[in-house]
Amino acid sequence: MSEQYQARIPIYPRSVKGRFRNLKWAVLALAYGVFFLLPWLRWERAFGPDQAVLFDIPGRRFYLFNLLVHPQDIFWLAAVLIILALLLFMVTGLAGRVFCGYFCFQTLWTDVFMAIERAIQGDRGARMRLDRSGWTAGRLLKKGATHAVWLGVAFLTGLTFTLYWADAPALTAAFFTGQAPFAAYATTGLLTLTTWLLAGVLREQVCTYMCPYARFQSVMFDRDTLIISYDRDRGEGTAGRATLRDGGRDLAARREGGVGDCIDCDYCVQVCPVGIDIRDGLQYQCIHCALCVDACDAVMDRLKWPRGLVRYTSEHALAGQRTRLLKPKTLGYGVPLLLITLLLAWGVAHQAPLDASVSQVRQPLFVRLSDGSIQNSYEIKVNNKTQYPMTLEVRVSGLDGAVLDMGRIEQVTLMPEHRTTLLARVRYQAPPGAARQQALVFELVPVMPEGLDPVLVGSQFILR
């Protein structure tokens, strides 16, 4: 009987330098810069917090620079999610797992944690030796220091995440004086733990066994998709790969003898953060981080052989055929992506300053008053979505002779982000023979500030 459970095979990724590694460092610097600094960016507002980006859950509003997002704008979230999904599908279909390799926070944080590990314990060889050695004081010290720094970064990550949900300076001060709400400690604590666990301990196990995106991105691949691949024809030749010792240093001589260009140095395998051999072909574990490309290029450069034995290519290109990028699939993702992006932009640009709805009171639908007129009642919900106070007047139109009664309420002043419900009664002395149902329009007219369009809400008046 074979083993049903597999012990983890340790991976000791070796460091590598190259253009993709530099690109990844740049993406990492940008992502960390935005993530860690954004909560501290101040933003001037007449009303509301002075934090540029703040997700105010108790107040049910999100502040994004000059944009204010309300629960009613949930459709924006739907649009953003659709855009992200389509973008992921399209990019993956065209360029492979770009998201995994360059942008996924699992990849970014793991990169940082590996850099810390390397700084303290040394590169691949040193780490392997360290793990083979007994539990010496030196090993304990190095391992302990690594975990301590990891936990530090994890804590900063968790705390920073928490700062997006409250005023950053105030929450930080409260956090360290024990005054912060339980949710802040719980969130920070949980994220510290998961960051340390996922980026420090579990790493490639997350991508291989936990992440659904990693798995379903494969279905978006086709033969034109850009993948990181080993050029088998060039690397293996007709006689297979051979080390420099066996096959020689002279490229022309090797090729003459049918020996492939791969010198079997194993560098591409050693740098791989998920522990695969790219020369075995496209594998589901591969996160397309391109470090093996850097590794192979570095070796080829040293030998002064042409680069590209491991490179970004497509299955069609490898087979000597043309790679098509503009095809129905690309358009099928691209056109909806463009449409929804435009729709979202339009929605954000045309955010209504005032949200109003009118619902007729249905029990009773109509009431006869002592002067013989008929009264209908309405509930008007108004929500000031702007960032300044607004004064409104309610009027009715569309039904001649209809009289609006709001009791003693003449004008409604709503503070920014304030909403209220008004009870309005409309009285109407119906001419004989009037239809049972009459159309009626409620006009919510902003009188302060001036220049805002009135919001018209259609309703009806029931006579009997």
Binding site: Y5, G372, T420
Partner: protein, 314 residues
């Protein structure tokens, strides 16, 4: 039937090959072995441990008519009295309703409104919005059984609260009084006093007060003299003009609002006259119970304000 055969289990050799368990069915059906990571197994054990702790703490297993209650508990207050129970979400809800932030804020604002004067409340959109939403709940619990949701009432049984016609007065004070102390409405039956002719005449007069044309002028005039005279004495409560008397709960007869009979729904003048005549002969006796010891003064205040607003004030 094919017994599973055995062959040497195989380890992957070439890329793309998968390890097999060595089980073979039907000669060529092999079982792949893609082993789960061991930490996955440990995660599973961890969830088992979690559920054991959970069972220990919280209500979990049904046993015959009862269930394991767990050792976690919850303290809560019901009207100032502290209670303790095993942890359950119903007690959590009670605690939220009694001492939760929102419940406390709601009670505080209720008190603010109860202590404010009527004019302030009626001119403040936020207070009115609170009144309308808070009192609607009380109305649903205590009033709607008779007066119906929204206060529409039922003709002949319970008065309509959504119009502008008030038997006992429509000011907030008057409505508060009605709710707190209750009301007894009484109109004596006239079947012993009037003969059919007299009753018909008074009915014709009353309809003419409300503006219903088509009555026999002689009947109307006879009815008027009975109404205004010693014989009927109707004026004593309904007034000389028929405008009613709020201290008696006597309705205004000069409008076309009828709480006890469906006059506006009748098809002909004769039908209307018959309805009014029957009412005069039958009399009316109605009672609204007192709610003074069932609702707090603050609740009565917001309820009265709500009812006052339904019809649009006086």
């Amino acid at each position: 039937m094919n017994e599973p055969g055995h062959e040497q289990q195989s380890a992957p050799g070439k890329p793309g090959e998968v390890e097999t368990t060595g089980h073979v069915w039907d000669g060529d059906l092999r079982e792949y072995n893609n082993p789960l990571p061991r930490w996955w197994l440990w995660s599973f054990y961890a969830t088992v441990v979690f559920s054991l702790i959970y069972w220990l703490l919280y209500p979990a297993w049904p046993i015959a008519g009862t269930y394991t209650k767990g050792i976690a508990w919850i303290n809560y207050e019901v009207e100032g009295e502290s209670q303790r129970s095993h942890w359950n979400s119903r007690a959590l809800l009670v605690r939220d309703m009694q001492t939760g932030d929102a419940a406390v804020r709601q009670r505080e604002f209720l008190q603010v409104i109860a202590e404010a004067d009527h004019d302030t409340v009626l001119s403040d959109t936020d207070m009115l919005a609170f009144v309308n939403s808070y009192a609607r709940g009380i109305f649903g619990d205590f009033c709607a059984a008779c007066h119906q949701t929204g206060g529409a009432g039922i003709i002949g049984l319970y008065p309509n609260l959504a119009d502008d016609n008030w038997h006992w007065g429509g000011t907030i004070q008057a409505i508060e009084q009605t709710i707190t102390r209750g009301r007894m409405g009484y109109m004596p039956p006239y079947r012993e006093t009037f003969d059919d002719q007299q009753a018909d005449a008074v009915a014709a007069y009353v309809l003419s007060l409300a503006g219903h044309e088509g009555g026999d002028p002689e009947q109307v005039s006879l009815g008027g003299s009975i109404f205004q005279g010693y014989e009927g004495g109707c004026y004593a409560c309904h007034g000389r003009e028929g405008l009613g008397l709020k201290s008696q709960g006597a309705p205004n007869l000069t409008n076309d609002i009828w709480q006890n009979i469906d006059v506006t729904g009748a098809q002909s003048h004769a039908e209307r006259q018959a309805l009014v005549r029957d009412l005069i002969l039958r009399g009316v006796q109605r009672e609204m119970p007192a709610f003074g010891d069932r609702l707090s003064p603050a609740e009565i205040r917001v309820l009265a304000t709500y009812v006052h607003q339904l019809g649009g004030g006086l």
